[in-house]
Symmetry: C2
């Protein structure tokens, strides 16, 4: 069991409807030392990739991406939900559906900050049905940039988002893959990550 799986068992809370609450350390209160460990682990897993930019999506991916970026020495661009008057009109856009919020959002990345020379590591906190991730990949592809890798903190292995992305040939690494959860017994079982290579 790795450091993240141990932390999930210790501080994660399972709720009905396959909800794994990790808001005490990952996506509301954020444990920066843990984020630093996560960043180190991403760097280890993508050590052979030539990455010059990290892309994530607001809001809960931002903190992880920024702390991880220190280990890669690259800038972070985050895809913004909906359109702000401070973003120029020239954007890459994708529509993503949120499992958590039960709503659709347009996410945008300014064309100024993503181009065909970019070799991108996508980072996000959760991967379930993969909708947010598909949106980010589509934005990177629209820009003619290359997805060098995808680093996910927690994947719900019992949903099909990760399988689809791996089938498409992307190098996807999830630091914890939840195989099953039981809210009544308050248990979480993790998958053997070797089986997801």
């Amino acid at each position: 069991m790795n450091f993240l799986e141990e932390r999930i068992l210790r501080d994660g809370v399972v709720r009905e409807g396959n909800v794994l609450k990790v808001d005490s350390f990952l996506n509301h209160q954020m444990d920066i030392e843990l984020f630093d460990e996560i960043g180190k682990e991403f760097k280890k897993r993508f050590k052979d990739c030539d990455i010059n930019k990290i892309i994530t999506i607001e809001a809960s991916g931002i903190g992880i991406a920024c702390v991880a970026a220190k280990h890669f020495g690259v800038p972070v661009v985050f895809a913004k939900k909906s359109k702000s008057i401070n973003i120029e009109g020239d954007v890459y856009m994708a529509e993503v559906e949120s499992f958590t919020h039960k709503c659709k959002n347009q996410v945008v990345v300014s064309k100024s900050f993503l181009n065909s020379d970019d070799r991108v590591l996508i980072i996000d906190d959760f991967l379930a049905n993969g909708c947010a991730l598909q949106g980010l990949i589509s934005i990177v592809n629209d820009a003619g940039a290359k997805v060098e890798g995808i680093g996910i903190v927690i994947e719900k292995g019992f949903q099909n988002g990760g399988r689809t992305i791996r089938n498409l040939g992307y190098h996807l690494e999830s630091l914890a893959i939840v195989e099953s959860m039981d809210a009544e017994k308050s248990t979480v079982t993790f998958a053997d990550q070797e089986e997801y290579k």
Copy 2:
């Protein structure tokens, strides 16, 4: 002129309506080395404060707060816009109006992650009319916690948000205080920060 003022002059873009675009390094694409400098500077300016938690607001405050938190060795909690089904009902709430997005948002912090023992540093990217900041202060006060300090990256000194907060006795430090901007001439003038002590 400090490192941030120099960077604003180099890469900031002034738009009509007192809009200062810093999205190439601060709030869309994020320069993590700059964030680290910002974190170091906050640590210097709040060195005498006994801080155990950093509070910020989604989305663009998160990256700065997380990188800065490494210099303080404390966790970050970010106030979430609107209510998520993954946040328990027990929250501190404030209503904030966004200058950028021209809309009102409820922001919430779970009561699990803020309590009367907390000594908080509030961090945000921008301070203009101060509405977001007032919301964060109100949330910290509701929790019975103490605002030890407020660290802002860019303050628009010609709007009254900062003055109000300083008049209320808060220790507010802004790393760059814009005195005036001219979109036509593409100029930015900074205030002498000593005059804002």
